[in-house]
């Protein structure tokens, strides 16, 4: 009457699904699995590391390419050299694009964090779920629609036939044409980095102790002083984290200067593409990529270090 039982302790005449489960249990109990069990986590994480390693290898090939001379006429790579870097750095166009990228990177990061603080305070403290969900939707949907839809939106909003020119025209104010200027690029960049700043600030906002603000008020502090001396210091580390993330995203921005800048206000990302694909000089493109990577990494490290520096000073 009793059918044979397998690994899971179930009768042998069960369905395919359970047979699969029992097969997996048998596999887990097999000698090889038992012997290699302690390496299990390594095996699980290894495919991810291998895949990301492909990106690291790709960056390595860029660096390798950039460290060789290049004959642009013949299109051939020559000897090991650092001349591509000196050529890129000595290019007046590179200097202009570099200064523009760095200046806009820090400016847009500051504006984005300046907007993200009140936004995350409202998002984190609202008791109405509908308000929270609406703000989250407004925050994330433009990001998820991608660079092209976002920049297309800005092109239509800022165009001479767009709503801003029309509204300001009705008020008797001539709205300037912003497409092709740093204003348009800045607006686009702030829009794309703002969600990152809010995501980083939100956990700290949720950890804020409201009693401290109440205590400051009972001691006579005005709202501005309460914010500056009580709320903001508690958000300091997160602010620097958000600033670092916005810096990294802003400096690496490609679509906004490409589309909203109309090719006349390029960033380093556009310079890189021009060198690589338009001019066909892969070594100079590789050199620009490495310079960008160093700038982003050093900038992030410097901003985070600055945040920690203040913490240490206060602690002393």
């Amino acid at each position: 009457m009793h059918s044979a039982r397998v690994a899971g302790g179930r009768p042998a005449d069960v369905g395919v699904g359970w047979r699969l489960v029992d097969g997996l249990i048998s596999l887990r109990r097999s000698r090889i699995a038992v012997r290699t069990r302690r390496f299990g986590p390594v095996f699980l994480v290894a495919p991810g590391i291998v895949l990301v390693g492909a990106l690291a290898v790709g960056i390595g090939t860029l660096v390798w390419t950039s460290l060789h001379t290049y004959d642009s006429f013949l299109g051939t790579t020559g000897a090991f050299s650092g001349t591509e870097y000196s050529q890129v750095v000595s290019s007046p166009l590179f200097t202009v694009d570099l200064v523009r990228t760095l200046a806009m990177g820090i400016l847009t990061a500051l504006i984005a964090v300046g907007l993200a603080i009140p936004f995350s305070l409202v998002l984190g403290r609202t008791r109405r779920r509908a308000v929270r969900l609406t703000l989250m939707t407004i925050l994330f949907v433009p990001y998820l629609t991608g660079d092209i839809t976002r920049t297309f939106g800005w092109l239509t909003v800022l165009s001479p036939n767009g709503p801003l020119v029309w509204i300001f025209g009705k008020l008797g104010i001539q709205f300037p044409l912003l497409i092709g200027t740093l204003w348009a690029i800045g607006l686009g960049t702030v829009q794309v980095v703002l969600p990152a700043a809010v995501i980083i600030l939100l956990p700290s906002v949720l950890r804020l102790d409201p009693e401290l603000e109440v205590a400051a008020a009972t001691l006579g502090a005005r709202r501005y002083r309460t914010f500056m001396l009580v709320t903001l210091p508690q958000l300091r580390v997160a602010c620097f984290g958000a600033l670092a993330a916005c810096w990294a995203l802003g400096v690496g921005d490609f679509a906004d200067p490409q589309i909203l800048g109309e090719g006349v206000k390029d960033y380093l990302a556009n310079f890189l593409q021009d060198r690589y694909l338009e001019i066909g000089d892969a070594p100079q493109g590789g050199a620009t990529a490495l310079i960008m990577l160093v700038l982003v990494t050093c900038g992030v490290a410097a901003i985070l270090a600055l945040g920690r520096l203040r913490v240490r000073r206060r602690a002393l």
């Binding site: 302790g9 997996l24 299990g40 699980l44 994480v45 495919p47 991810g48 590391i49 990301v52 990106l55 690291a56 790709g58 960056i59 090939t61 907007l115 993200a116 009140p118 936004f119 305070l121 984190g124 969900l133 407004i138 994330f140 949907v141 433009p142 998820l144 629609t145 991608g146 660079d147 092209i148 839809t149 920049t151 297309f152 939106g153 092109l155 239509t156 909003v157 036939n161 709503p163 029309w166 829009q191 703002l194 995501i199 956990p203 949720l206 409201p210 109440v214 709202r223 501005y224 914010f227 400096v251 690496g252 990302a269 890189l272 593409q273 690589y276 694909l277 990529a289 960008m292 990577l293």
Partner: protein, 267 residues
């Protein structure tokens, strides 16, 4: 609570409203532009029409580009699940420092400027001779967007009651059964959230696709970009509106699952 709100930053509503306008205005206007009558986008519109949507639906090139986008996004999602799920499961087993290091390594795609990642793949793929295949574009996007898969799964894992597998074990469940019938269903929201996020950020990707695709296998964002360089027409608005609808639907789905809200609003 009311008192705290009164004490808060006075310019907060104004700045928040400004941020809302900055975020929502361009996206909203894409939708308005897509219904504009006439070949030029003007405000206020001279009339409303569905003509541009019909034109986009009837355009074979748009469908081709859309299918290419779906192809790369699906490849990215499959890679994300195949690689991200085991990695997310394994990460808690490592010591905190190693875990952080591994997480940073796995997030390399997002921490590197996208244009640098794109040209790194371009350089690598051209060297091994696999450039201009849509599947490798998907592979590149899977690597770049891997954190979008990892974070929701890690978040779902952290939300799990650590006592549950032990409770199942006392009832005789094998570790395989504990994983399949307890941990996996509890992680499902994280996996679905990660998968849909990864699908959307991959289907809407512009930078990696622009560098890695050719004229013959353009994805939809690259196809729209080619049109943008020629003329800003309402038909591009209709094609862009597809991404807005997709992103909105996906975000509503993710909100219903609860993954994003739980991930962001965790105290």
């Amino acid at each position: 609570m009311k008192r705290v709100r009164r004490l808060s930053f006075p310019a907060r509503p104004i700045l928040t409203a400004f941020a809302v306008v900055l975020l929502a205005l361009p996206t909203s206007f894409v939708v308005v532009a897509s219904f504009t009558k006439g070949i030029e986008i003007v405000f206020p519109p001279h009339g409303l029409t569905f003509h541009w949507y019909l034109a986009v639906v009837r355009n074979a090139a748009t469908w081709h580009a859309l299918l290419n986008s779906v192809h790369v996004a699906l490849v990215a999602v499959v890679i994300g699940i195949a690689v991200g799920l085991p990695a997310a499961l394994a990460l808690p087993s490592f010591r905190p420092r190693r875990r952080l290091l591994l997480l940073l390594l796995l997030s390399l795609g997002l921490s590197t400027p996208v244009i640098v990642s794109a040209f790194s793949f371009f350089s690598l793929f051209s060297k091994i001779g696999v450039l201009s295949h849509l599947t490798v574009v998907g592979l590149a996007l899977g690597i770049v967007n891997l954190p979008f898969m990892l974070w929701p799964i890690i978040s779902a894992l952290e939300d799990q009651d650590p006592e549950l597998p032990a409770a199942a074990a006392t009832l005789g469940a094998d570790p395989v059964e504990q994983f399949l019938f307890i941990r996996l269903p509890l992680m499902a929201s994280g996996i679905v959230t990660g998968a849909v996020f990864m699908f959307v950020v991959s289907i809407t990707d512009f930078v990696v696709s622009e560098v890695l695709t050719t004229v013959n296998d353009q994805t939809l964002p690259v196809f729209i970009y080619s049109g943008l360089r020629a003329n800003i027409s309402p038909s591009l608005g209709a094609a862009s509106a597809f991404f807005i609808i997709l992103a909105t639907l996906v975000f509503i789905l993710v909100l219903r699952i609860g993954g994003v809200e739980r991930f962001l609003i965790r105290r």
